[in-house]
């Protein structure tokens, strides 16, 4: 009996090993490792499906991270990726051009910018004062102390510093210079300040950023905030329109002058700057200038599968790829832009004459 049972366990275990093993192997394929911003998950999943259909010998491996984390995976943790695609194209020059690989070359020296997005105010039907919310009073509602406003940590997440930009721009747009202070600034243990000089608003984020009141809820990424919103633990948050729609949440569109989604308003956006004031770690003092939301992607210089990466980028920029983005509410940037086009691999150069 005992021997029988032992035999059964052995058979079961072998089944598990064989089954899991089978799904893992298969025909010889090359793997394309894509580190993607969280807000690209939905369109990239569709791109992956279509791309793999057309290129059956390529296996696309998507790894979602916050944009900053995606880059740090490569530059700090030494992960070899074939494509890095982030929600803020300015992060690539800031963090990848300026960091060198062990052999002395930078991790990347170009980036392609092809899609945009915009910020909206997300809420649910149970959010406080949702019934009186409109495009003229939203900033006053999120400033009320009994309303819980959530946003991502601007020190580590693009939506976070973009939220501050939107609030800074809203201050000028609605002619309410205390808007940023009233909505978020005054609820931190160390002051988060906005200084207006020559028409440019500079928002300084202190090193210690801890809310002192339950009016504010900070998280590391918007995924957590959306869970808090859906469970009614926060009333409002500002997030990408595409993500909010994908999550089936209610949202209020913000005026183009503040939503960072209109490339035609780039000049207006340029009037706000978010700077991190890290006194102790003076070597890193990131400054984020107000820019339209533009996604950026690059092939790191230590990529293993450059051929497949080039094909994937061509696919993203092509009609099929852009149709997917369109359906995911991440409109195409017309025309796509390339920073440092002279450094592009040959096959991509033709796209940016």
């Amino acid at each position: 009996m005992r021997r029988f049972r032992r035999g059964m366990i052995f058979v079961l275990l072998s089944c598990v090993v064989v089954l899991t093993g089978c799904s893992a192997t298969g025909a010889k394929k090359s793997t394309l490792v894509v580190l993607e911003a969280d807000s690209l998950m939905v369109p990239f999943a569709q791109l992956q499906k279509q791309f793999e259909l057309e290129n059956p010998n390529i296996n696309v491996e998507l790894q979602p991270y916050g944009s900053i984390q995606a880059i740090r995976q490569v530059t700090e943790l030494g992960q070899q990726a074939d494509i890095v695609a982030v929600a803020d194209s300015s992060l690539i020059p800031m963090m990848m051009y300026q960091t060198n690989m062990p052999d002395g070359k930078p991790y990347a020296d170009w980036d392609i910018e092809s899609n945009t997005n915009q910020l909206v105010l997300a809420y649910t039907s149970t959010s406080k004062y949702a019934d009186e919310l409109n495009a003229d009073n939203w900033y006053r509602i999120i400033s009320r102390q009994d309303v819980t406003f959530g946003f991502t940590d601007p020190r580590i997440d693009a939506v976070g510093y973009r939220t501050l930009m939107t609030l800074g721009l809203a201050g000028s747009f609605y002619n309410d210079p205390m808007l940023l202070q009233d909505a978020v600034g005054k609820y931190f243990s160390m002051p988060l300040t906005a200084d207006n000089e020559n028409g440019t608003t500079t928002i300084s984020v202190p090193e210690l950023l801890e809310p002192t009141d339950s009016h504010l809820v900070l998280r590391n990424a918007d995924i957590e905030l959306l869970a808090l919103l859906q469970s009614g633990n926060i009333d409002y948050t500002i997030d990408y329109k595409s993500v909010v729609i994908q999550d089936g949440l209610k949202y209020l569109e913000l005026p183009p002058e503040v939503n960072l989604g209109d490339t035609g308003d780039a000049q207006t956006y340029g009037k706000v700057v978010v700077q991190m004031v890290y006194q102790r770690f003076a070597t890193v003092n990131p400054v984020f200038e107000g820019l339209p939301i533009i996604y950026g992607m690059t092939i790191p210089n230590n990529a293993q599968n450059t051929t497949a990466a080039i094909k994937f980028i061509q696919f993203v920029l092509g009609t099929e790829g852009q149709k997917i983005f369109q359906n995911c509410n991440q409109p195409e940037l017309i025309p796509p832009i390339c920073d440092n086009a002279s450094e592009l691999p040959g096959a991509l150069k033709t796209l940016f004459p």
């Binding site: 984390q69 740090r72 700090e76 940590d153 020190r155 339950s214 957590e224 469970s231 890193v284």
Partner: protein, 274 residues
């Protein structure tokens, strides 16, 4: 020549006598290295100045103390609620007991982000338990209570399982003897069963506490501030890069090493006294 032959003979007779020990030692060495090398690497990757800085950084110290404290409270709660369950599971049979035992292990398997979200939908301010706790002034978002339920959910199975095994090893006849000698069920539990199962329970308690300290995924959903150390390490890494994150990790490893080694030594002494 003779010497070599002698050496070979000694070696082969040693091999003959201690084959099991030799094979096991080699295998053990592999797993010990696997665990220790990365830990040492974390400690030695950060230079002394960086470690010293971390040690003087009040944010870091506060966060480490908070983490140790929250995990401690979690363990006390887990102990009070988990040990009775372990006793029932070890001593009594009831319908669907196997199912219950399987379900209790689930928090170990469930991705911890999912665990955090699940807790949010139970302890959130719009849900029954959340509302009730809110009425007595306890909130679970951005609070110590949030850290505790996050840690409790993912770590309590370790204590329940260890305590259950401990109670199972205690001979029921000893309890029965105590009962025939006039002890009440409470007395039998307190004087006989619990002391005999104590070592397993203590080990489980330690494991639970340790698991609590390391938790990230479930806690970050519920509570970003006050910031536990796992989240602080992550935030430092994101904002400043590895050079600022590693000293914090190193400090946590060193402090936990001291506590854990101390605890194990204490357990060993206990065993000798037994």
């Amino acid at each position: 020549m003779q010497v070599i032959r002698k050496i070979i003979r000694t070696a082969s007779s040693f091999w003959g006598r201690h084959r099991l020990l030799a094979v096991f030692s080699v295998l053990s060495l592999l797993i010990v290295l696997f665990v220790l090398v990365p830990l040492f690497k974390i400690v030695f990757l950060s230079n002394k100045t960086a470690l010293w800085q971390a040690l003087q950084d009040t944010t870091v110290l506060k966060s480490i103390l908070l983490t140790l404290f929250a995990a401690l409270i979690t363990t006390v709660v887990g102990f009070l609620l988990g040990v009775p369950l372990a006793f029932i599971l070890a001593r009594h049979n009831f319908p669907l007991k196997g199912v219950l035992e399987g379900l209790i292990d689930l928090p170990i398997v469930v991705p911890h982000t999912a665990a955090g979200i699940a807790l949010l939908f139970v302890f959130g301010r719009n849900y029954l338990l959340g509302k009730w706790f809110n009425s007595i002034g306890i909130q679970f978002v951005d609070s110590l209570a949030g850290i505790i339920i996050g840690m409790l959910f993912v770590s309590v199975p370790f204590l329940i399982n260890a305590a259950k095994d401990g109670f199972r090893k205690v001979d029921v006849r000893l309890e029965n003897v105590a009962r025939t000698l006039g002890a009440s069920p409470w007395q039998a539990f307190r004087r006989v069963t619990f002391p005999l199962a104590r070592r397993s329970i203590l080990t489980g308690t330690l494991m639970m506490w340790a698991r609590g300290i390391s938790e990230f995924g479930a806690v970050i959903i519920l509570t970003y501030f006050p910031m536990v150390t796992s989240i602080l390490i992550y935030q430092r890494f994101e904002s400043y890069g590895l050079t600022q994150a590693i000293p914090v990790a190193a400090l946590l490893v060193i402090i936990c090493a001291i506590i854990f080694i101390g605890f194990r030594l204490f357990l060993q002494r206990e065993k000798k006294l037994d």
